[in-house]
């Protein structure tokens, strides 16, 4: 989307044009939903966070500083909304602090052939507290001190949660890699069962 087009959309939204609001929503849906899906436990939660985030975007458009990138502004709102969404129910304190998170990545996971959906499914299976810290640390690039400030937890708790998140993700990756993959694995199983089944029915027909 061009800058001029974006400015027009923003102006339309400021005038409560439902058409422009929808266009803006559609234009940033993929980007915003990508963030929300990472922070949410499932797609429904993600959609809820997304809409709450967009609601804030519409409500605060008049405060948007045009000198800053609009996408970054929307992304920040989505991230904050997601954190706020989980912050209400998250029990950060129940996790033990650790002095230092251990580096558990000895395997070369960067070479894993995991696609977006698989990675997303894994991160969504993490408990909220682990997932939020992992998102903030691994994907957004915040430090533990910053995460601690952001979530109202200690840096130690942040480290602990990150460590446990990685541990769980590692187990999920290993489990996924051990399973036969539909595109590369042995898919003769169902075919051979079908062949035997057809053969049996032919034999039964022949006998009777």
């Amino acid at each position: 989307m061009g800058e001029a087009e974006l400015q027009q959309l923003i102006a339309g939204c400021l005038n409560n044009s439902r058409k422009d609001q929808k266009m803006l929503y559609k234009a940033f849906y993929g980007f915003a939903m990508g963030i929300c899906l990472r922070y949410a436990g499932n797609r429904y939660e993600a959609a809820e966070i997304l809409n709450q985030g967009f609601f804030k975007v519409y409500s605060n458009l008049q405060r948007y500083d045009e000198s800053r990138p609009f996408m970054a502004w929307v992304g920040r709102i989505m991230m904050n909304t997601a954190i706020d969404y989980h912050r209400r129910n998250a029990k950060w304190a129940e996790y033990d602090d650790v002095d230092e998170a251990l580096d558990i990545s000895n395997g070369d996971y960067a070479d894993s052939k995991l696609n977006y959906d698989e990675l997303l499914a894994m991160i969504q299976r993490l408990p909220n507290a682990y997932r939020t810290v992992f998102n903030l640390y691994a994907i957004e690039g915040y430090t533990h001190d910053e995460i601690g400030d952001l979530l109202g937890i200690s840096a130690g708790t942040s480290k602990s949660n990150l460590f446990k998140a990685r541990e769980k993700l590692k187990q999920m990756i290993l489990k996924t890699e051990q399973l036969p993959r539909p595109d590369t694995g042995n898919n003769f199983g169902p075919v051979s069962i079908s062949a035997v089944s057809v053969g049996m029915s032919f034999l039964v027909n022949f006998i009777f």
Partner: protein
Amino acid sequence: MKRLNENKIDKLFKDGLSGPKEEVSFNEADWVAMEKMLDKKSGKNTVLFRLMYYTSGIAALLLLAYALFWLPQKKDEDKRRPRVAKNQEIKKQHNGQSEQPGKVLAMELAASNHNIGRVEKVPVAASKSFFSLSAVRNGRYVAKNDSGQSLANSPSNDTAVNLLASGSVQSQIDSGIVMANQSLVDSGQLLEKPEQPLPVKAPKLKTNNGFKPVLSLAIVGAPDVNGVSSLNGAKAGANLGIQLSVQLLPKLSVTSGIAYAVKRYSASAGQYESSYKSSTPVTYIDANCKVLDVPLNVNYQLYKKGNNALQLGTGLSSYWMLRENYEFEYANNAPSFYINVANQNRHLLGVLNFNATYQRQLGHGINALVQPYYKVPLTGIGNGRVNLRSAGVAFGVGINMNQLFRKPK
């Protein structure tokens, strides 16, 4: 923010999940849910109108109650009118029967008799000493009994009319027993025990020294300033509302009402309570809150002379936080963070009010008021539980309901 040692699991997820996602296709159902949220937002504006609607309803009910309060008093006055009308009918009947000159003569005798009462002409421009029924009925004469007590102040003049118009007196006159009539009047029996079937209820005397509660309704608008902990660096706000006052005692009144207030203020990070901690230091928080303020104040009249009056008041206000918008400004030009809260905080009797009211009567029951005020919270206000103080001057126009409903003279 960037770390040198990037974990491989972190990298795997960062590369796979960050950035724009083509995989996430637009879902129309999400937009439908979004539209519902937006419709709800626009519906929030109707909450205010609904509140105003209910407020006007309450005001109308109060007016109605007040009108009903006045109605019995008016009825007392009206009660006499139909009775007079009845008497007129009776009189007509009697007139129809009393064409004989003897009766008129007897009436004159009876009326002019000093034992019945000394007849005084109240308005000087009245008819002569001829004591006619119509003269009494029209209230132009005040009959005084021997004790000197005014019969006209009580409705005894009516009683006299009743008696005269009734068959009792008439029959006595008819029979020519004037002396008997005199003795009856002298003893007061005639007034107390009329033989007439018409009920003569002793009406309540209206005492002028009895205090009546005064009800006033005022529309006020107030520019004010709002600040946290103190009014240094306070920001301007505005209020619009109605005030309803009931003067319970000559110098004491109670005021309530409802006002829609826009409160804008700035707070430092320390003044705003939040578990939301930012890595980047918050320089300040800009707040814009829409509040419904329902005060309950007691006022003491300090001074009143002529059309001017001065009152001092204090009391408590309840705040309903309709909408709260907070903008967190960070150092280093970091993007602002916003919190929007709607209808989540209310503070029942949580704000202490101090005010002084100068009132000036403009005539016809209308008065102008100027009311400097100061509001100090007893509890933390809003989402950030801030010590939000307000000071302003309310300007308004009020209506004295008592004068509005006063019977025409």
